[in-house]
């Protein structure tokens, strides 16, 4: 898989600037609207509702006036070494060797949920209920994304249909490459704070290739070896500390190296 990825060159990644994120939730709404995410009768049940990008609220644990809050939007990490892909018994999820995007074949998924057990990011959602949309909302469903049936697992696809659309457009224009702004997931496009940057880190012309080299960049649970392709930026060391598990003393060593 890695050889193929190297050969194709492209591997899409996302950089989220947590210092810029206001936690407004527009990315979540844009994602839901773009990807035909159903509306449950009880959306307050966050353990069963469908959210391809979920926002976690983190606090530094200090009292006023030193209290700090931060919001971490968490889409699928589109791991370079996805724990969910090799475990699927029916090959219903795969990593595209040409883009690095991990996709889900809904009509093949049998709903065993082994992939959910494998994913440490809780990025995969199971359809516990039949998909339902409030009256009239069905008229706004996107024809580019198939709604999912009850009993299958779904996840963020980096709005893969937008990549297909951009590729088709480039093809009609006789191009074999995509420009940086031609393919952007809905969440990145909708973010009013411009906290989400999307592109190909292997392409030096793309902004993400520079951003991921920054000193304050980190990924979630990096030491597990999943090689996530969603990068975060935060200048606050307590936020970077909460991105992974560290034994006592380990993180301060990292911090001193950084500073």
């Amino acid at each position: 898989m890695k050889k193929e990825e190297k050969a194709s060159g492209t591997r899409y990644a996302m950089v989220i600037d947590l210092d810029a994120c206001t936690g407004c939730g527009v990315c979540v709404v844009a994602c839901a609207s773009e990807n035909n995410i159903p509306v449950m009768f009880d959306e307050s049940d966050k353990t069963r509702n469908i959210t391809w990008i979920q926002i976690y609220i983190l606090a530094n644990g200090k009292g006023f006036p030193e209290t700090q809050l931060i919001y971490i939007p968490r889409p699928c990490m589109q791991c370079g070494n996805p724990p969910c892909v090799p475990v699927c018994p029916v090959t219903a999820t795969r990593k595209d060797p040409n883009t690095g995007i991990v996709s889900q074949i809904y009509t093949r998924c049998i709903g065993c949920r082994y992939c959910m057990a494998a994913c440490p990011y809780q990025a995969r959602d199971f359809n516990w209920f039949d998909p339902s949309f409030p009256e009239g909302m069905d008229r706004y469903l996107s024809p580019e994304v198939s709604p999912r049936m009850r009993g299958v697992v779904e996840k963020c696809t980096f709005c893969h249909h937008r990549l297909m659309r951009a590729k088709a457009k480039a093809y009609t224009e006789g191009r074999r490459y995509l420009k940086e702004d031609e393919y952007i997931p809905a969440c990145a496009q909708a973010c009013p704070a411009k906290a989400i940057t999307f592109g190909d880190p292997n392409n030096p012309a793309h902004m993400v290739s520079e951003l991921i080299k920054g000193p304050y960049v980190f990924r979630l649970l990096e030491r597990l070896g999943t090689e996530p392709k969603v990068y975060y930026i935060s200048t606050k060391h307590w936020v970077r500390r909460m991105a992974d598990n560290y034994l006592s003393g380990e993180f301060s060593t990292l911090r001193s190296q950084l500073e």
């Binding site: 949920r113 209920f129 009850r150």
Partner: protein, 425 residues
Amino acid sequence: MDLALIPNGVQRCSLKRFLPWMLLWSLVVAWGLVSAFLCFYKGLNQTNMNHYFAFGLWITFDLSLIALGAGAFFTGFLTHIIGKEDLKAIINAAVVIGFICYSAAIAMLGVDIGQPLRGWFIFWHANVHSMLTEVSFCITAYLGVLTIEYLPLIFSNRKLNEIREFSIFGDNLHRTMAVFAAAGTFLSFFHQGSLGGLFGVLFARPFAFREGFLIWPWTFFLFILSSIAAGPSFTLLCVWVAKKVTGKELVKRGVFNMLAKISGWLLTAYIILKILDTISWAYGVVPRAGLSFMDFYEGPYGIWLMIAEIGIFGIIPAIILITPRLRERNGLLIIGALMNITGIALNRFAFTIQTLTIPVMPFDVFMSYFPTWQEWGIALGAVGYGILLFSLSYRYLPLFPQEAELNPVKVLGKAVTDSGLVQRR
């Protein structure tokens, strides 16, 4: 009324006593069927599983049932391949118990998947890298083997045996049983192992992840060993319960001793390796993931669970079962076997539930889960089904070859080998 169906030389209770017993367990099965219908009709929202608890009571039950059902293949292996003649007294019961465990586990899996009608995709779109694929292939194939092993027993029912074709077919199958015992052993080793591998390969779940040998994590080998340690104990326990319920000696005491001894030594080997595995995990996988040992024992699933699994329900039954003086006492024998299977079930519970309950992201929350009545219904329905099938098998099939010898039927105070109450033809 059903005397013509009852094996020669043995006595069974009257239908008047048998039917209420069957009715009781039929009600439990009906509870399971209603639950299954609701899950099929309304979906898995009928359970308390959620995105955190992708697996719940059913997978815990499945893993435990398959481990406990290992008595079938292992007894078959010891009887037909190794040549332990004494175990012939219990092999039929072991096969029936194995069949019950595997068929119940597969039925539960059928309800547990979100799209049951696509279950066959596992064979059609098989992903050879997935441990679950290997489990599915092997347990399905092994259920076929168990059916083949069960058939000669069914054909030995007095009425069915009168049909020449069944009789010949049953005899021929019986003669080739060593081949099926070998096939069953091969398949079982792989799926018991793959069930362990199922969790051991989850490299992003530090609680479950294990290093190993080539493609097999250590849990692969530990699950094989623990299943063959628990299987004979479970067979022993089932026969003991049958003995108590029927009030008859079904096998000689020596057979229990042999099962207990085999179970005990295998459990001892397993517990030693499990302790070594736990130590190497605690000093290898855990710190590499940036975690400390106690991070995995929080909330309701505290360190007591590990102490219970390895210490109380591991070391103690191992000592009881390997010590001849202890296992020869009936009470201790049963306590030892019961503790053994409890420990193995706790191990399966920990791998299923604790793996999922521990948040891997430092800012994620600790969750707990309790099954709904529908989940309990299906799990207990499987138990009810097992008791129904075992009761029917006991009543109408010659399940225990030593039963007639151990319980001579007395007519006018005189022991006879054939009951005399039933004319053979």
